[in-house]
Symmetry: C2
Subunit: 214 residues, 2 copies
């Protein structure tokens, strides 16, 4: 065979296969991908820069699933909230990908554009410029930590039998079950982080409330 008239492989197929494999088995392997693609292992190396190149493909793929339109026609806090939810939803759809992505967060062009828009909105709302990255970084870290939580099993607070922790056990038992533990924790955290941002605004524009005088 050697070189076929039409290429057997392209980045899309490679990304698809890697994502499939990670979703199904929790990880991927270059030979495993080659088998699925009906191709030699070496062939894949003609398209990507090794295994880490495939991880970059996955990072970009997740980034593309993040909805970047959430910032238009909304106040900045609602937009930020929607962005956070969309960011996490992209991870939630492929929880096993997240551990492969640690070390560097998603910085796809779409995501970068969203951050640019966010910075602008927060600035205009009155958040001091030197606080903007602090706020966004803490929110991003929270999202990433929450995403990792998604890959963990739901009942993971199993208390070893040789440890006495009655109140912890009671708190675990007292959790309502409808939204998952992870969902509730995410909502709680993202809500308070965004609220905290709005309290840092210097109300030099028109602002209804505030602890000035009443």
């Amino acid at each position: 065979m050697a070189r076929p008239r039409k290429a057997l492989l392209d980045l899309g197929k490679i990304a698809d296969t890697a994502l499939e494999l990670v979703d199904e088995t929790g990880d991927f392997t270059v030979p495993e991908m080659a088998r699925r693609l009906g191709v030699q292992t070496a062939s894949i190396y003609h398209h990507v820069d090794g295994r880490s190149g495939i991880v970059e493909l996955l990072r970009a793929r997740l980034g593309d699933e993040i909805d970047s339109t959430t910032l238009d026609g909304q106040p900045w806090d609602a937009g930020l909230r929607a962005f956070a939810y969309s960011y996490r939803a992209a991870f939630a759809a492929h929880p096993h990908v997240v551990p492969l992505l640690t070390g560097e967060p998603v910085r796809a062009p779409v995501v970068l554009a969203t951050y640019e828009r966010l910075v602008l909105l927060m600035e205009q709302a009155g958040l001091p410029l030197e606080l903007v990255m602090t706020a966004l970084t803490s929110i991003e870290n929270f999202i990433l930590g929450s995403a990792l939580d998604l890959a963990a099993p739901e009942v993971m607070w199993a208390i070893p039998s040789d440890v006495a922790a009655p109140r912890l056990a009671a708190a675990l038992a007292a959790q309502s079950t409808s939204p998952s533990r992870a969902d509730r924790a995410f909502d709680f955290g993202i809500t308070v982080l965004i609220e905290a941002c709005s309290k840092l605004l210097t109300h030099d524009g028109a602002s209804p409330d505030g602890p000035s005088t009443s």
Copy 2:
């Protein structure tokens, strides 16, 4: 040689070597450890349950570095804050270990005992029991996400030259440099999350402004 009169290996040495290797090179390998220990690769398998057993050793090691005495003789919020800082400090000392630990958080006995004590304190302070795990989970996720951030290079918001993001660039430039970006983001988030917890308290105990019913 075969079996020496005194064992060459023990869990302490194995954990030490793995930690050394991860701190120096970012990862560890069983044969690499064996070389450092002056021992055959197979010997290590007589002490731990494979590579994942070594990861568990590292998880426990990090857990032991967390200071669990922070909760005594302090109000719950100061204790929780100290615990969070200590938790993160343990990660900060060995940032490359963190990615190996994702999937399951640290649940060493010390940490579990701290959580037990925290739940008790928060309950007594008046936090509704069904909210306790939500609050603690979101804080733990935030800590984990922040810890991962520590393994990332300080200047990681490099904006690709083909992307225009002037306000993002300005926000990055406007950051003060004294405490690191990661430190500031951590402090911001942990402060806000704990404050949010204290607002959820139902002041039915001895409380200055609470409604008087018992």
